[in-house]
């Protein structure tokens, strides 16, 4: 384990970057889970679609920035469509119905992606300004990763402002606690559901776009991020955004250092963490309800 301090710092930075990315995906999932009680398996597809759309748009319009602007809109619209015409039927059904339905969606979207983009991995070049490396105090670090960190931080900041300081944010937070009560008090809860779902999908799409130049684009990416998200939700606790944030960073660091120390068993660490949380605190670090 004789690594220099620089290696540790860089690895910690990698973990932070992946953690932020993971949080962008998980935040929508957590909010939807908190509000509607539906664990949307298809959510990871929005992330995957974001990345694939980024590939096509960057290829045709020639600029990464266009895809960062357009993809979230497309993915968000798709999310709204899915909520309105499919998931709404499932709220009254049991957990099994919701799981099966979102599983079916996951399956169809993955297969459609396979048909449209093929099964071989794709890649997107990072935008020119962020293509190089930056050297700080003797350490070189890819600029693009710093961009991911900064950009996710901005999105996170905007989202916190929206949730904490606006009226719609108050309604959303109240609906997480008790959707029926909010509806009785006169808010149009189905509409709030729909917009939160669309917003969550768009956020996952954003994560997909900014992940595209950083990780390669492949069919299994949805599956992989789905499991990571699930671990985040279990560790962070049901419907808790703060929990999801902290858990995302934990998973990011855990993966990053896992790969450094024991590359073969990197996958095991997060499941170990999950198992420990299951045993010690089944509601998750910040969860209150089961």
């Amino acid at each position: 384990m004789g690594y220099s301090i620089e290696v540790y710092l860089i690895q910690a930075m990698h973990g932070l970057v992946y953690g932020m990315l993971l949080f962008l995906v998980t935040s929508g999932l957590t909010l939807v889970f908190g509000m509607m009680g539906v664990l949307n398996l298809a959510h990871a597809c929005f992330y995957m679609l974001g990345a694939y759309f980024a590939y096509t748009i960057t290829l045709h319009l020639g600029s990464f920035w266009w895809s960062l602007l357009i993809c979230p809109l497309i993915v968000g619209a798709l999310g709204i469509f899915i909520e309105r015409f499919l998931l709404r039927k499932a709220y009254k059904g049991g957990h099994l119905l919701q799981l099966l339905l979102t599983f079916g969606l996951f399956f169809i979207i993955t297969e459609l992606v396979r048909l449209i983009w093929g099964s071989s991995p794709l890649s997107v070049p990072p935008p020119k300004i962020f293509a190089g490396d930056i050297t700080v105090a003797g350490m070189t670090y890819p600029t693009y990763r710093l961009f991911i960190f900064g950009f996710s931080f901005l999105v996170l900041f905007a989202m916190t402002l929206l949730l904490m300081r606006t009226r719609i944010g108050i309604i959303i937070r109240a609906a997480v606690l008790d959707a029926d009560m909010v509806e009785v008090l006169g808010s149009n809860v189905p509409k709030v559901f729909m917009s939160v779902f669309g917003g969550g999908a768009a956020l996952a799409g954003v994560a997909g776009v900014i992940a595209a130049p950083f990780l390669s684009i492949y069919l299994g990416m949805g599956n992989e991020v789905l499991l990571d998200c699930f671990v985040v939700i279990v560790v962070g606790g049901f419907g808790s955004l703060l929990g999801a944030f902290i858990a995302s960073l934990m998973i990011g660091e855990l993966q990053s250092f896992g790969i450094l120390w024991i590359p073969r068993l990197a996958l095991v660490f997060q499941f170990l963490l999950m198992a420990v949380v299951f045993i010690v605190r089944p509601t998750g670090l910040f969860g209150e309800k089961e």
Binding site: L41, H95, G104, I108, E111, F230, V268
Partner: protein, 323 residues
């Protein structure tokens, strides 16, 4: 003809058809029939947990793969082992893996159960992929199909298609029959009691955890055997036996066929394999089509195809099983 025999008539006919199948079907269709049989066993085993236990496992390929890899490794390293013993070990491995996985999963419900079982499967997939010295990674391993030695019939070669068909037919039929009989026991009934309302069942004195674990591990026996038969028939094992697609297959089959009926998964496996065989020769859209069939059935025909065949038997299992 007495009433009993008239009732059993359709089973007798079905049995006759299955027995005569290799004599009037071309060889390529017999291959399809063998695959249907293996996946029918897989889906029936899966449905023990899903339809009867009321929980949705997303990682059943773990058990299938354990049986499959176990069979391949024994056949490759100890070729002298009698084939029936090898398959027994495959079933046993499925059983043991199910006890371990079930121990962690069955306390959970809903999405927690589904995704935790998926996590185990992903983990075993990673092991099969990375432990190259044992499993040869994603290149997979070839397996030689040995002859089977029976007490009365002597040694029978399984190299020709008719023999392997009968061999697999008999084992699958025995597996499915054993599953049916298991569900008729008081233990099998308690599985349904626990599914309906586990708190009430525990007040009545049932051990909910143990019942759920039992049904999960019983499922492991069937699925492990199915994995063993699959590898024996394919004469090949690779990570495709234990990957996510393999986990999704029984979910699709069972939901399409109808989880509320004992034979629903068998119908689903038949429909799925025939549709796959038929459409994939025409277009590559077949998985998407299967997905749409799946969603249509989840939304509009809760009991699956078997209920469409038998309209008076709509049981609304989802409303009961889902709660």
């Amino acid at each position: 003809m007495s009433r009993f025999w008239r009732r059993q008539l359709r089973w007798i006919i079905a049995g006759m058809v299955l027995l005569l199948l290799p004599h009037f079907l071309p060889e390529i269709r017999v291959h399809l029939a063998i695959e249907i049989l293996v996946f029918a066993l897989f889906a029936v085993g899966f449905n023990l947990v899903f339809g009867y236990g009321g929980q949705l496992p997303f990682g059943h390929a773990a058990l299938f793969g354990v049986g499959g890899y176990g069979t391949a490794l024994i056949l490759n390293h100890y070729p002298q082992t009698p084939l029936l013993l090898v398959l027994l070990i495959a079933a046993l491995l499925g059983f043991l893996a199910a006890i371990v996985i079930g121990f962690f999963c069955v306390r959970l419900t809903g999405a927690y159960f589904a995704l935790t079982s998926l996590a185990f499967q992903m983990f075993l997939y990673a092991v099969a992929l990375k432990w190259r010295t044992l499993t040869n990674g994603d290149d997979g391993m070839g397996v030689t199909r040995p002859a089977v030695h029976l007490p009365v019939f002597g040694s029978i070669s399984l190299a020709n298609i008719t023999n392997i068909y009968y061999f697999i037919l008999i084992l699958v039929a025995l597996g499915i029959l054993a599953c049916y009989l298991f569900l008729k026991t008081p233990l099998g009934n308690s599985v349904i009691t626990v599914r309906e309302k586990d708190t009430r069942a525990s007040f009545l004195g049932y051990n909910v955890f143990l019942t759920k674990l039992t049904v999960f591990s019983a499922s492991g026996i069937l699925v492990g055997l199915a994995g063993g038969l699959f590898v024996l028939y394919e004469e090949f094992v690779a990570t495709t036996c234990i990957d996510n697609n393999m986990s999704m297959t029984p979910v699709l089959m069972t939901v399409i066929g109808g989880p509320g009926h004992f034979l629903g998964p068998v119908l689903g496996a038949t429909f799925y394999m025939i549709l796959q065989d038929w459409i994939s020769s025409v277009t590559s859209y077949w998985m998407v089509l299967m997905g749409f069939v799946f969603i249509a059935i989840v939304l509009y025909a809760e009991g699956g195809l078997i209920n469409l065949l038998k309209m008076e038997n709509i049981r609304g299992w989802l409303h009961r099983g889902g709660k």
